[in-house]
């Protein structure tokens, strides 16, 4: 029944021999149009508020540009970078930032995992606990920082009251850092725990039962089954938190305002802009921070492999 139409169809096919690009129907074209239309506002605002300023920051960082002497603006090459990288302030701030980042993320991971396991298993007041731990996540950082500051302020604080009289922890380098890390950990552990909890939910219960039947104790189940299964969730959680911790600013601003060498790189950048009014140096610091973050991200993405979240397009056809 199809034989008679074959010849005519072959003729019709003539022009479209060779390597034809697939014809696009109205439907697909409308889809493309809508896609561009819907994505455009986001793309435009991203370009205006980040892409352009980033480029501008790089340009500024190559300028001699002091707001107190705007007339003396001139091209300075890499002089600003040289000034920053040879300054002990930068390395002090960088060391402090790295210390805060590594220590707080490590503590958060351990605490967060414990919290996640507890929330996953608990029989009592599951909803209540989930609600309560959202409070540190949601609370304004400045507010939390003030709470910690007052708690450790001699005379005012209930925690300072526990210390021997005469000690003022927030005037001491080590104690200040410990408090800053404590404040960071307090606020962000719940977020870590929630991300890990989501990963934990993906570990099949049957697999744990099977492991238990095979003779694995709780610790072995955690290290041999649960953690390897959670690896993607762990990496995401650590990446988010590491990058976030590296930008630490609010807590330090309130708790010590960078006194006694406790300033982070973000504090340093801020102070160069708004205390020293040096846009050139400030921008160089900004760019250096950006590069540091990019390196951290790259290291993590190496661990991730190629899978970036949100890029999959399965189920389409």
């Amino acid at each position: 029944m199809t034989v008679q139409s074959r010849a005519t169809a072959a003729e019709r096919q003539q022009p479209s021999q060779g390597p034809t690009k697939a014809q696009r129907s109205d439907g697909k074209r409308a889809e493309r149009r809508l896609g561009i239309m819907l994505a455009a506002p986001a793309a435009i605002i991203i370009v205006l508020v980040t892409a352009y300023p980033v480029g501008y920051a790089v340009w500024l960082s190559l300028q001699r540009y002091d707001l107190r002497f705007p007339a003396e603006q001139s091209f300075a090459g890499l002089a600003n970078y040289g000034a920053v990288l040879s300054s002990s302030y930068w390395w002090q701030a960088f060391g402090v930032t790295m210390l805060i980042t590594v220590v707080s993320v490590a503590i958060e991971f351990v605490l967060g995992l414990a919290l996640a396991l507890a929330m996953h298993r608990t029989l009592v007041a599951r909803g209540l606990i989930r609600t309560v731990i959202l409070i540190p996540y949601g609370i304004v950082t400045v507010v939390a920082a003030f709470s910690w500051q007052f708690a450790w302020t001699p005379g005012t604080g209930y925690l300072a009251a526990l210390l021997p009289t005469g000690t003022a922890p927030l005037t001491d380098f080590g104690a200040s850092l410990a408090i800053i890390i404590g404040a960071e950990v307090w606020k962000t552990t719940p977020f870590m725990a929630l991300l890990l909890l989501a990963g934990l939910a993906l570990v099949p219960e049957d697999m744990l039962k099977a492991a238990a039947m095979d003779g694995a104790g709780p610790w072995q189940r955690l290290t041999q089954i649960i953690l390897p299964m959670m690896k993607p969730a762990i990496l995401v959680a650590l990446l988010f938190r590491t990058l976030d911790a590296f930008r630490v600013f609010d807590n330090i601003y309130i708790l010590t305002n960078g006194a006694n060498g406790t300033g982070s790189v973000s504090m340093l950048g801020y102070n160069n802009l708004f205390k020293a009014f040096n846009l050139g140096i400030g921008s160089a610091i900004s760019v250096l921070i950006f590069i540091s973050v990019a390196i951290i991200a790259l290291i993590f993405i190496r661990l991730f492999g190629a899978s970036a979240p949100g890029s999959d397009n399965t189920g389409k056809r």
């Binding site: 493309r32 994505a39 300023p53 304004v140 900004s286 950006f290």
Partner: protein
């Protein structure tokens, strides 16, 4: 029976520890906010005498009331805009084929990791040049930008949960892609949109770095900045009580969101991350 009730007790105990962990710093600032000037430096966790003076005082300061108005206004406007723009972009990313999609995904991932301080110096300079320094839009724009990755990830996770066949059905029923989006997908994504709005609001409400860098007067200064700048009613009075009262006020909306929408917030926070 014995072991069962004993494990319950252990879990209850663990729950109490978690509650103490989460609540003590909050209760402490609440306690401070109700202390009288005489007792504020007594170091006691529970106020010995209670007063509302601190609250009365901060509302008598124009500085704080205008900052509160700025905070609320800027956070709400940023949230609405970020969610609308984010919803559109997230749908396009989750469901449509268009040129530049991969770039958009990549760039928004980049912004999610971006150190805000790196944008502060150029934005400070640019916003002064174009007259956006110390204005609402001058804060709203960066807030939208930094909220967009969050909005896009959360929402595209929600969109992916909506079955493809619904859009196909809408197309077969005669809908254009835009009609399918508006009439079928948006109503179904409403819970996701709402969740995202809460997360974005919390983000904007929380911000300190942009606010302190890009504002200078009560015209646009937000509450966190105002609190950080409190100096007390007179130059001799410690501002502790006022700061505590203002801090409590800033925490109230967060507590309300958390109490009402706990489930949604957790779902939203974790939706994008699990798939990675």
């Amino acid at each position: 029976m014995g072991t069962d009730s004993r494990t319950r007790i252990w879990w209850a105990l663990a729950g109490v520890v978690v509650c103490i962990y989460a609540l003590v710093p909050v209760l402490w600032i609440v306690s401070l906010s109700f202390k009288t000037t005489d007792t504020i430096t007594d170091g006691s966790f529970v106020p010995r005498s209670w007063t509302l003076d601190n609250y009365a005082q901060i509302f008598s300061l124009d500085l704080f009331t205008s900052a509160l108005v700025n905070s609320i206004g800027i956070a709400i406007i940023s949230t609405v805009l970020a969610v609308v723009i984010g919803t559109m972009a997230a749908y396009a990313i989750a469901r449509l084929d268009f040129p530049g999609k991969k770039t958009l995904v990549g760039v928004s991932l980049l912004i999610a990791m971006f150190p805000q301080i790196s944008l502060v110096s150029p934005l400070f300079d640019i916003s002064r040049a174009v007259g956006l320094f110390d204005t609402w839009p001058g804060l709203i724009l960066p807030y939208i930008t930094f909220a967009l990755p969050l909005a896009i990830y959360t929402l595209s996770a929600f969109f992916r949960e909506i079955p493809w066949e619904l859009e196909k059905a809408a197309k077969m029923d005669g809908a254009t892609p835009l009609q399918a989006f508006r009439e079928v997908i948006v109503p179904l994504a409403a819970p996701g949109v709402f969740t995202t709005a809460i997360l974005v609001f919390i983000f904007c409400w929380n911000d300190f770095l942009f606010a302190i860098s890009l504002t200078s007067t009560s015209a646009s200064q937000t509450a966190p900045v105002a609190i950080a700048n409190f100096t007390g009613a007179s130059q001799f009075a410690e501002p502790t009580g006022s700061i505590a009262a203002a801090a409590v006020l800033l925490t109230i909306p967060i507590i309300i969101f958390v109490l009402l929408f706990q489930r949604r917030i957790v779902a939203g926070l974790t939706s994008g991350a699990v798939k990675g």
